[in-house]
Amino acid sequence: MSVSLAAPETALEAKPPAHRRKRRGVFLRGAVLPALIVAVWQWLSSAGLISEQLFSSPWLILKQYAALARSGELPHHLRISLIRASLGFLLGGGTGLLLGLFVGMYRRFEEVVNPTVQMLRTVPLLAITPLFIMWFGFGELSKVLLISLGAFFPLYVNTFLGVRNVDAKLFDVARVLEFSRYRQMTRLVLPAALPNILLGIRLSLSIAWLCLVVAELLGADSGVGYMIQDARAFMATDVVFVGITIFALVGKLSDSLVQFLERRLLRWQDSYKG
């Protein structure tokens, strides 16, 4: 009965073309509205119905993109923003992941740590910002710390949740098979919590990005946020738009990256409908 059937992985990996076509269809349907908005916007400003000074236009923004890229200004600011966001995300997200794992694994640890973390979680980030600036000044440290604080909570909460959702019956199996602590972590707890962890990463990334904007708008001499702030002072609306769209683009890109990871890593899941 078993040998005559084709190996199932071949069926799994070669996605049917119908599936691909469907996804392209979904993408196109999602692109209709943005394209329409851009077209109307361009038409309105070309026809002189709205002020180019205030609202700019898609074409002007594109030209500004090219100019800023050529002068090296855009790559410079983008690089600095990316470094800040990554550092903050790694610091905060990494701590959240580790702490979430420990709190999930050991009830004692949870009893000591979790109430405090949950309390801190309710404090609005923007309310803490002035404190951070007083303590750490306007330099890089306060920015990175603000971002990491934001990135910490989603990963912490979701990792904790993921560990608690591990099937207790599988823990019994791990005991019978005498898994070492390390193996119990790598073959049981981490994979079982992975769907939640990945969700946590996605949320953490978007919050890190958000905090970056806040930090850079509040006070900085470089970064995409500073570029926006600076352009606002000179009423350079197109540069402001360049900054905004860059934020949106990079945000979307990082989110897609995690989604791609999800597709790769969660192939085993029953419920996954990628």
Partner: protein
């Protein structure tokens, strides 16, 4: 020879608030080396509870459990456990599940895994994830996973209960095959009298409330057994008789 499993005067009471349930009452049972012992009894009589105790997954009981003469302290690979549900790790492929905490890059593990895949007839499905396997195939992976650890005894709790009749018959044959080639001592829990008589060298009938051993029926039929032979039917009737005794008594007492 040293018996594979010895259960001596095991009693178990679940305590929950005020209502205590006395589940096992001084159970004595010996599985001799290489024996295939089957435990049968009404639902709720404590079969799973007893098996968990033997597996070392439950240490809150009175009495003694020995594995090849040594007291059982906690779960270990020496006592392979097959649960009613396959309990495979969904994120590991069939062969990774069999290796579990061991690395398939180790040549020895690789070789033994391949041998077991052949033994449980899963060739072609090594790289499949549990969700792509049928219930019967999953259960065979679970059996292979236990066998890779070369257990002194295999404890099976209604391993085929959730399967359809065809798959069940197929897996019964497979289990017999494994038992005969590997000579692993077996302790099987089942609801199915037919399965018990078909597989085992001895059928132990349990009574309920509290659970205790009521009867032990040696099955002296040669393998392979034919379910339609007269001696088979007679033994089945004998086991059924022991099981029904209790129900008659209950009927009279009403």
């Amino acid at each position: 020879m040293q018996p594979a499993v010895e259960i001596k005067g095991v009693s178990k009471t679940f305590r929950s608030g005020h209502a205590d349930t006395h589940v096992l009452d001084r159970v004595d049972l010996t599985v001799r080396e290489g024996d295939f012992t089957t435990l049968i009894g009404p639902s709720g009589c404590g079969k799973s509870t007893l098996l968990k105790i033997v597996a070392g997954l439950d240490s809150d009981y009175e009495g003694e459990v020995l594995l090849e003469g040594e007291a059982v302290r906690g779960p270990s690979q020496e006592k392979g456990v097959i649960f009613q549900e396959h309990r495979l790790f969904p994120w590991l492929t069939a062969e990774q599940n069999i290796a579990a905490d061991l690395s398939l890059r180790n040549a020895d593990v690789r070789r033994r895994t391949d041998e077991l895949i052949a033994l449980v007839k899963l060739g072609g499905f090594e790289k499949a994830y549990p969700r792509q396997l049928s219930g019967g195939m999953s259960q065979r992976v679970a059996i292979a996973r236990a066998l890779l650890r070369q257990p002194k005894a295999l404890l099976l709790d209604e391993p085929f209960g959730a399967l359809d009749a065809f798959t069940r018959a197929h897996l019964q044959e497979a289990l017999l095959d494994i038992w005969q080639t590997r000579k692993t001592s077996m302790l099987l829990v089942t609801h199915d009298i037919d399965e018990a008589v078909f597989l085992s060298t001895r059928v132990v009938v349990m009574d309920t409330k509290p659970g205790r051993i009521k009867a032990s029926v040696p099955i002296d039929l040669p393998y392979p057994r034919s379910r339609s032979s007269r001696s088979f039917t007679e033994l089945r009737t004998a086991v059924l008789g022991h099981l029904e005794q209790r129900q008659e008594q209950e009927a009279y007492s009403i």
